[in-house]
Symmetry: C2
């Protein structure tokens, strides 16, 4: 099943536009190389789609490895292996969970609330449950029918808030359209908001001298990849492409906390290529297949590509393949390091969710 | 009295390093043109000074209007008259307050808590009280002795939180060193946090689709000046110099909300001059006299100078004068518009505090 290949961003919301369009079995539009301005603001738009089972495959010109305007990098590019890093992190979490259980008899617990029957949401929830099992975190799942009331969902959240066995609560988005998503998310206790999307968390992330309870999973995964590959951030020029609440904005705040000089490029930016070309570190999270070309990249830059965009591919048995926001072939000629798609940032998101759940349990029990 | 000339930033904290050093009657150091890196992180540092009565006058080379490296602006510079704009805003507030009183019998109220006997803090509180009186806002002042306990302060905050006559609460900073400032500020009800410094407010300011209850006064004043002078923000390149919680960071978030492409320059930025020179709009809030030279400015850029730095001036009867972060004489040759110091951003801070208090009262009484 196609959607098995995709991982959603943090609890719920897809990172990129392309991941979140409905799957119609045929390309929605012949987009060609899609215009920057039109697409960059779509990042969050899954939230407004009520009930769509899967995603759309985009039709797009292949990234042709055009070298016009590219100053070639002299050394070979390092591929940042998110899959391997995520595996390592899951092993570390497994060890810590086991140590905690042995020492104080506490098992970290993650509760997931799923409302309705979206297939992609069901897949995301199943993946999270499986990931929890693998590291020894207990998972608690509540499935409610599409026609449930807001009050019913709030009641479950309230129960999980009070339940000492639960250290993290996720509400799988999108919710049915008759529910007020903001009300529901605000009801999750700040101590259990392992997604880190609560405004209080974001405020603390933005402020010097304050610390968030949790850092949102996908941006946390991006920074973790830089750390694990020994890539310095302090004093570096960083450009974040996309300003969504779930990836772009918190990624920019995290880079700033680590003393990078950060610029945010978005749908209203004039000449995004020029600004991006100044960056030592690029984090792209817009859901625009192959938007960032080789000519956008400074030689030796490090690229973290958050986009996971299915595009048409007649040579694939599935009829599509996944590409990032960055034209990988061109970027490899210029960058010093790059995350592939798939296998880059994607696997990090669930690893960070497990990490946040463990952190929450340790904090609740004053352990470690 | 020297400190009468200064206005503090929002409730409490001075915007700039130079404003907040102790007044010793002689220059602390012969700084010359002070190094960027050393000073840029001092912005918040008044918070850590326990009891210093006034401020230090810095010794600094005058900004010499050196034209080396400056591409001169062909048209004449527009001086952004913050004093006049603030006066206009106070008149508008006066009219609204009067209208509200006549219509529903409600007078907006601002409570200020002052602990200890710092002369500068007393002056700031007096200025705020006077500004309230002038527009018809009721002010409630609590003065507590230096040796008061945190619990006593918290009790007053709690009473004001519950008092329907009070729509805004300010705790004048810095607090005595035996008090936990974060605990005290967090106790102010989010509905009455007219400073807008609560992390929940900052989080909402950062997030798309969310709105803060209040916008911090000084950054709000900067954006208001741009609006009142008809200076477009959308699509512009903006550079904010300084990343303090009270000015730089929220100013960057505000510019981003208005669709500027924002970069934040700070103490760890390498080559801040190069980045600043790309900006159509510069907001500087670092407390470093004359740091931004003409050569840092793109011809035609708009400059909002938040710094208010007293520097030695033997020709002045007081022995000092106030300058901004930007070398005004040089900037006037390059920029299209600039705020002077004094008379630029300074008067806007209290005007925005009054505006936030009125907004709070209107919201509490569902008026207008």
């Amino acid at each position: 099943m196609a959607s098995m290949m995709l991982s959603d961003c943090a609890s719920s919301t897809a990172t990129t536009a392309a991941r979140i369009l409905p799957f119609t079995g045929r390309p929605r539009t012949q987009l060609g190389l899609i215009k920057f301005h039109k697409f960059l603001d779509r990042v969050n738009f899954r939230l407004s789609i009520p009930k769509l089972p899967n995603f759309t495959v985009q039709s797009i010109q292949a990234c042709t490895a055009d070298t016009t305007g590219i100053t070639s990098n002299e050394t070979s590019v390092k591929v940042i292996d998110g899959k391997a890093v995520a595996k390592k992190i899951r092993e570390e979490i497994t060890a810590e969970v086991s140590q905690m259980r042995d020492a104080i008899g506490v098992v970290p617990g993650l509760a997931v609330i799923l409302v309705g029957d979206r297939k992609d949401s069901a897949t995301y929830v199943r993946n999270k449950k499986k990931a929890c099992e693998d590291v020894g975190i207990a998972s608690y799942e509540v499935r409610l029918p599409e026609e449930s009331t807001e009050q019913e969902v709030l009641k479950f959240i309230s129960d999980f808030n009070d339940d000492p066995l639960v250290h993290g609560i996720l509400v799988q988005l999108p919710l049915p359209s008759h529910m007020n998503e903001q009300n529901i998310l605000n009801a999750v206790s700040i101590e259990k908001d392992v997604d880190g999307f609560h405004p209080l968390n974001i405020g603390r992330l933005a402020m010097r001298g304050r610390d968030p309870m949790f850092v949102p999973c996908t941006p946390k995964g991006c920074i973790e990849l830089l750390h694990r590959y020994g890539i310095g951030i302090k004093g570096k020029r960083a450009v974040v492409i996309g300003r969504s609440n779930i990836v772009g904005m918190p990624a920019a705040l995290l880079l700033q906390r680590e003393d990078a000089t950060v610029s945010i490029v978005h749908s209203r930016t004039i000449n995004p290529e020029e600004i991006t070309r100044q960056a030592d570190i690029i984090i792209s999270a817009v859901g625009q297949p192959n938007m960032v070309r080789g000519s956008w990249i400074k030689p030796g830059a490090v690229i973290i590509d958050v986009g996971i965009n299915p595009v048409e591919d007649a040579t694939s048995p599935r009829g599509y393949r996944l590409v990032g926001d960055v034209c990988y072939e061109e970027a490899c000629k210029v960058a010093s390091a790059i995350t592939p798609v798939p296998g880059g940032v994607g696997p990090m998101t669930i690893a960070m969710l497990l990490s946040n759940t463990l952190t929450s349990a340790k904090r609740a029990h004053n352990f470690g």
